[in-house]
Point group: C2
Chain length 185, copies 2
């Protein structure tokens, strides 16, 4: 059984995107942070996306601009096996992508039961919210950015019942980011 | 010039109250946390509230139940000088309260210029959001609770422009709370 992880940056008002679906505010450029992010992207994991985030990432990471701005991260993003959950998508254009259709709980259950590297969800608030409700996520790595957005979308907007998580680790960076690791209680 | 501070507990989805204005999920009872909260309430500060939070607190802290459940905190809350911002309130019933009316920026500016202990805002999301926009808050002490609420209100819902803050300190507790100190950048 492989694990399903979440990695997302959230603002001080709890949003992973602003009101226009922009996630660029989450990127920092200082050397300490660059090294941390590059280390995350250098592993042999697999990635899972909702459709909106997939389309945004597929439009960026394969480009020469991405390779120039963040070479290690871009190489990792393009290389890693990717899964996208969508009812409407016909074909996934980004290399190494498998399209996931059908009942969400069943399909994600099957994916976790397959042999292979652990899965990490990036972005994808709707998907994270649904999978949190289904209790299918094994850990959440949240980067708390020292940013106020005012408006945006949370990772948990369809969660109907209060949940308490267990904090397993935390790490503070000099740019003001705090990385927090949680598991469902 | 006295300083204006914020102290609030927020959920992992950024909310300081749930959809029903309930803040009770933020209270933890373990000895380590009790000691931390009692230490906060033992100082000689003054408190500033919006009307909604004031009414909730005024209905709880003067009661025998509050004195029994959290004696040090209740004594501190009742003893400290309190200010409540409201356009509609005629008279503030809780002991040691001054009613603040009129233009918000002017009145809070006057309050900060008076001699006296530093001011701390508790709860009061609408007030915090407005005072953040007016750049009148000097520091934010946010307790990040390991809780998902699903729906609720943020501290910054009227902030129209992205803000970055400076993280000055952080402290992790065994109950999973992470206390974060920020100042406007």
């Amino acid at each position: 059984m492989r694990k399903l992880h979440v990695y997302d940056t959230i603002s001080l008002d709890g949003y992973f995107t602003d009101a226009t679906n922009d996630m660029s505010w989450a990127h920092r450029r200082d050397p300490e942070w660059n090294q941390y992010v590059a280390g995350n992207a250098s592993g042999d994991g697999a990635l899972l996306f909702g459709r909106v985030t997939y389309d945004q990432m597929a439009a960026f990471w394969p480009t020469p601009q991405a390779a120039q701005m963040m070479p290690e991260v871009a190489a990792g993003m393009n290389r890693m096996p990717k899964y996208v959950v969508s009812r409407t998508m016909q074909k996934a254009s980004w290399q190494n992508t498998t399209l996931v259709k059908g009942d969400l709980a069943t399909e994600i259950g099957k994916l976790k039961a397959q042999d292979g590297p652990d899965l990490t969800i990036l972005g994808s608030g709707n998907l994270i919210s649904q999978l949190t409700e289904l209790r299918l996520i094994d850990s959440y790595q949240l980067v708390l950015s020292p940013t106020i957005l005012g408006k945006g979308r949370t990772l948990f907007q369809t969660v109907g019942e209060r949940r308490t998580m267990t904090l397993t680790k935390s790490k503070t960076f000099s740019n003001g980011n705090v990385v927090l690791w949680y598991e469902p209680a």
